[in-house]
């Protein structure tokens, strides 16, 4: 795609290199035919050097990036298109990019498991309304092409040579044959046509099940490869003499660029523009066909606008998310302007370009493991109803983002806690019973604050009891230990 872009609009003679944002289609809006002279994109060499730095991953491959685990899931939009799950210590964020649940297209279907246990879901490239069904649009395109061909006209598709166009080529091939039109050649004309067509055919693992089955036979998973082998589809880098020997009319041409500002599409408009038998069909929803056509005047060729947009709609995503129970769903503001997703308001956060959105996730627990050694040293206390409790002092080991609890380096670090119900009378009872010659000198009870003070003459000590706070004051440690033992006897010590 990047190469195609550069071939169409890059490599200009000007040395001043203004870097545009790659992947952003906005750079085409309002461009003029000589736009490519004014600005230059990155070069083919830049693309190579850039893609050399890319680490390829497969769906379902867990990547450990420091403390993050990142996993790609199929988004069903085109070959290799992915949504991402980022897992940061148990907190899961799902990032949804261009995705599609349209049936019967070539990519591996949308994988809904990307939403499983996600705390936050960030949505980006959505469609606001449901629009026409893909199958219907495809059928209309088919009829439009068939009618033109029957009138001995030619059809031009201004398009990029990737993605849904593979399905259009396949469908048209079957459709016009079914309509009794045989021997109509298809031409794919783009600097990357050969590469794109051939490369897609070796990516069978990234396609839907039916295509994978073909690959196992071994048949070409991409029907356009069969068409190439049967000489019903030809590819060429540009509309020049190399095309001449295999060229015949009427025919169907797929040529770039959909903005009609560069590429072979322009040659074909010049060639066919004055005959109303010919058709030009715009299928790419990202480009404004009126603006594209505005560069040419007095054309007879019949323009048809049948945009194909297979992206997920707000409604589709809302339906999917209703059962998934995320804590936050982030929608792009500009899409939600037109349609309200059918989800609880508390879930939804809107964002705009350059917004910084802070989200607090209160995930409760993360799973780790403890070693046998540590477990065997834990003293569990039964606190009723089969519940057990224990104080634990260990070391949390971190290795390659995998954690494990092991024995503590030193038991002195072990902390103890006391809890449970307490009875003062029982304490006094126990004190007199267990300490020989114990004399309680003073006993003050303040019922209002439920606090009391017990002063002992022998051994000399004072015990303060105040709600949850107990305090023992002594002059020697032995007495303290003795009193503590009596005191905590009633309580649960962990």
């Amino acid at each position: 795609m990047m190469k195609e872009l550069v071939h169409f609009f890059g490599d200009s003679a000007l040395q001043s290199r203004t870097h545009s944002q790659p992947g952003s289609t906005n750079i085409f809006t309002g461009v003029t035919a000589d736009w490519n002279v004014a600005r230059s994109l990155y070069s083919i060499a830049d693309i190579q050097s850039c893609t050399d730095k890319v680490r390829p991953v497969r769906f379902g491959e867990h990547l450990n990036l420091y403390e993050l685990e990142v996993t790609a899931y199929s988004s069903g939009y085109c070959l290799g298109s992915a949504n991402w799950m980022i897992d940061c210590g148990g907190e899961k964020v799902t990032i949804v990019s261009s995705s599609s649940t349209v049936q019967n297209i070539h990519p591996l279907p949308f994988d809904e498991t990307v939403f499983n246990n996600a705390d936050v879901i960030i949505l980006s490239d959505l469609r606001d309304e449901d629009g026409v069904r893909f199958e219907n649009t495809l059928m209309e395109i088919g009829n439009c092409v068939a009618n033109t061909l029957k009138n001995k006209g030619n059809v031009l598709f201004p398009c990029t040579m990737n993605g849904i166009i593979f399905d259009i080529i396949d469908f048209l091939n079957q459709h016009i044959r079914a309509m009794g039109l045989h021997g109509i050649p298809f031409y794919a004309i783009s600097p990357i046509a050969e590469e794109s067509l051939k490369y897609s055919n070796i990516c069978g693992e990234w396609m839907c099940t039916e295509r994978q089955q073909k690959m196992y036979l071994p048949d070409n998973p991409m029907p356009h490869q069969d068409m190439i082998e049967q000489s019903s589809l030809y590819y060429a880098t540009r509309a020049d003499s190399s095309l001449q020997e295999k060229y015949q009319e009427p025919c169907v041409v797929f040529a770039g660029h959909p903005s009609l500002r560069s590429g072979a599409a322009i040659n074909f408009i010049r060639k066919w523009g004055n005959n109303s038998n010919n058709s030009i069909i715009f299928t790419e929803s990202e480009y404004n066909h009126e603006e594209a056509m505005s560069a040419f005047e007095g054309l007879q060729i019949k323009p048809t606008y049948l945009p194909i947009d297979i992206r997920l709609t707000v409604n589709e995503i809302a339906n999917m998310l209703r059962e998934k129970k995320p804590q936050h769903v982030l929608f792009p503001q500009k899409i939600i302007g037109n349609v309200r997703p059918n989800l609880p308001n508390s879930l939804i956060t809107l964002y705009e370009c350059l917004d910084i959105v802070n989200i607090s996730i209160n995930s409760q627990f993360v799973r780790t493991v403890m070693t046998e050694n540590l477990a065997s040293n834990i003293e569990l206390v039964n606190i009723g109803k089969d519940s057990l409790i224990a104080s634990l002092n260990g070391t949390l080991n971190i290795h390659n983002t995998k954690t494990a609890l092991t024995s503590a380096k030193n038991p002195l670090n072990q902390q103890k806690y006391v809890c449970g119900e307490f009875n003062v009378a029982k304490l006094i009872n126990e004190l007199t019973e267990q300490i020989y010659g114990c004399r309680i000198d003073e006993f003050e009870e303040d019922k209002k604050n439920s606090s009391c003070k017990i002063s002992l003459m022998s051994p000399k000590a004072t015990i303060y009891l105040n709600n949850e706070n107990f305090k023992i004051i002594t002059t020697d440690n032995q007495t303290r230990i003795k009193l503590t033992k009596i005191l905590i006897d009633q309580l649960v010590v962990i």
């Binding site: 491959e61 196992y216 998973p221 493991v369 409790i389 971190i398 092991t406 103890k416 440690n477």
Partner: protein, 623 residues
């Protein structure tokens, strides 16, 4: 605990089939079968693994959690349709996409030879092969798959390089893990890349050991050797027979011959006896992504598997005069075209046979390699072997160096050898124990190996607790005056953690902060604090005239406690100023009410540490 039993490939090559039980109480025991192969050397029931070992009553689906097939060679997948369609195993089966594609072709070929040529009846049918393959789940490299949706049973494939689509499999059950290599090759060749695995530190590595004792010279030398032998033979008018398996080595050697023929402008005919595998090269064209980088990068301009010089073989060519080169299947000369042609060409000394792979004992190929001059095919037919016999180690197995390299790469705690000959294995076993310092086993078929793995219990740790402990962790930064030794700076890999563990029946134990735990259990938490007024006996103190007795006592306590705690617990900080010492909740200060006394207070939480400190104080300040 991990328990492994080879049903095949134990101290043997062929019929690979290894059973593994892995897991503990928290995950449950999982049973996994690695490969389900047949033996080339047998035609009776010994050709398949003895599955009755798994279940006497054919209840295989209950017994096994999954089957993992490493690659498409029949000694690794040949018994699969038998096991799924005739024995009734219906559970999941995993293999890579190319294996899933190619496996049925080889199985069908094997079935044809067995049923149609040898006339056996009780054998799997074509339909059974198709039904069997429908049960297979295809996997991608590095894709983590949860078997049966079980979080505790995870498998992941790594590139093995041996043949198209060959994979090594990492299996994790809870905290226990195993790597099964299948067959692999650590050196890249003309069409495939080298095996690669991450440092997964499995409890057990099960590796093949076909070339346990061989250390091969460089690939380039071997290639040059091969081409020279072929060229010499054809230039003297001889015929060269190269027995190969249709998929794998054949493509590598074809690329080699193709480029050599092109470079040297040779026109001696080269044939490829394809037979059932006319489409063999098509698989390579569709699965280019599984070959090596070079082939991948140039495939748009030129698909390396479109051969110009290599033509399909016809039986009539067998008797044509003049030189020729023929790649014929199968590779062990035990049957089919390669054996047929061998019979014809063997009696002529100008001809040559090049054995580029490994031959299972008992096959004609093995006898040829052994140097036998008269070979009996059956009771009545013998072949006189007069042609030149060359052996070239082209089969894509790791050699001893490669096996050790893989062990170092994945860093296992135990190693087990399979898929090799007993004597060679023993040699390698010693070498591994010596050089890698890990226990190494090589069980025979049916022999059980038990590997103890440390038990580990899953715990859910409260995120709040973790965050608090992470935040409290201070990096041991060197002070300014110290020289920074860069070698000593390393990431923190263990932090002390303190919390309360709660356990409910049938639930994973939870570790959390004490306050959280108390909230959950509805128990009121009590704070118990102590105050001990310690009177100093001035007569038992060494007098220092400069300072008063309490300050001096405090000073002594500070020095001793700090030293003692530093030896024991280095994450407890001891603070001191002129009138007090603070260690966690413990406060030791000069009493303002009582003369010559220290006031020592602490919270019961720190009882362990306080007791330790108190015993020190008792020693310093006796009554």
């Amino acid at each position: 605990m991990i328990k492994v039993i080879p049903l095949g490939a134990g101290q043997d090559v062929g019929r690979s089939c290894i059973l593994m039980s892995i897991g503990d109480d928290s995950t449950g025991i999982k049973n996994i079968m690695f490969d389900c192969g047949m033996h080339m050397g047998y035609n009776d029931e010994r050709r398949f693994p003895d599955f009755s070992y798994i279940s006497k009553t054919n209840r295989f689906t209950e017994q096994l959690d999954c089957i993992i097939v490493s690659h498409f060679h029949l000694d690794h997948c040949g018994a699969l349709p038998y096991f799924t369609e005739m024995c009734g195993y219906e559970g999941p089966i995993f293999m890579t996409h190319p294996t899933k594609a190619i496996c049925p072709i080889l199985l069908e070929d094997y079935r044809k030879i067995t049923v149609e040529r040898k006339g056996e009846t009780n054998f799997f049918t074509s339909q059974m092969i198709k039904d069997c393959m429908k049960k297979v789940t295809a996997v991608n490299l590095h894709q983590t798959i949860k078997v049966n949706g079980d979080d505790d049973l995870e498998i992941k494939a790594f590139y093995a390089g041996h043949v198209l689509g060959a994979a090594m499999f990492y299996v994790r059950v809870g905290t226990q893990s195993t790597v099964y290599t299948g067959d692999y090759n650590m050196t890249p060749d003309r069409h495939l890349g080298a095996a690669w695995i991450d440092k997964v530190r499995p409890d057990l590595l099960i590796t093949e050991s076909t070339y346990a004792t061989t250390i091969r010279d460089s690939k380039r030398t071997r290639e040059r050797d091969f081409l020279k032998k072929v060229h010499d033979c054809v230039s003297q008018g001889g015929k060269v027979l190269i027995p190969v398996f249709a998929l794998g080595r054949a493509q590598e050697l074809c690329i080699l011959i193709e480029t050599y023929w092109e470079r040297n402008n040779l026109n001696v005919p080269v044939y490829f006896s394809a037979g059932m595998t006319e489409k063999a090269n098509d698989y390579y064209k569709l699965f280019i992504n599984w070959t090596n980088e070079k082939i991948k990068n140039i495939f748009v301009q030129r698909n390396m598997f479109d051969f110009k010089h290599i033509k399909p073989w016809d039986r009539q060519y067998m008797d044509l005069p003049g030189p020729a080169v023929l790649f014929a299947t199968p590779g062990m000369l035990h049957i089919g075209t390669s054996l047929e042609v061998f019979k014809k060409w063997a009696p002529h000394p100008e001809n040559m046979v090049i054995m580029p792979g490994y031959c299972v004992a008992g096959t004609v190929g093995a006898k040829v390699l052994n140097g036998d001059k008269e070979i009996y095919i059956d009771a009545y037919n013998k072949i006189l072997v007069k042609l030149q016999v060359k052996n070239l180690s082209f089969s894509a197995h790791a050699d001893a160096k490669g096996i050790l390299q893989l062990i170092k790469q994945c860093d296992p705690k135990n190693v087990m050898l399979v898929h090799g000959e007993k004597a060679k294995m023993e040699f390698l076993q010693e070498k591994i124990k010596r050089e890698c310092r890990v226990p190494c086993y090589s069980p025979a078929n049916g022999e059980t190996i038990i590997i103890d793995t440390p038990l580990s219990i899953p715990v859910d740790v409260s995120v709040d607790l973790l965050k608090r402990h992470f935040a409290a962790q201070k990096l041991p930064l060197p002070s300014l005056d110290k020289r920074i030794d860069i070698m000593r700076i390393k990431p923190v890999n263990g932090i002390p953690i303190q919390g309360v563990l709660t356990m409910e029946p049938d639930q994973i134990p939870r570790l959390m902060d004490v306050d959280e735990a108390m909230r959950d259990t509805n128990l009121p938490l009590r704070e118990l604090t102590f105050e001990v007024i310690k009177t100093i006996n001035p007569n038992k103190m060494q007098k220092n005239i400069d300072s008063d007795i309490c300050t001096q006592a405090l000073e002594n306590i500070y020095e001793t406690v700090r030293k003692s705690l530093k030896d024991n617990v280095n994450d407890v900080e001891v603070f001191k100023d002129s009138s007090q010492i603070k260690i966690r909740s413990m406060l030791i200060r000069v009493s303002d009410k009582n003369f010559n006394s220290l006031n020592i207070s602490w919270n019961y939480r720190d009882e362990n540490m306080a007791n330790h400190v108190m015993s020190i104080i008792e020693k310093i300040l006796p009554e």
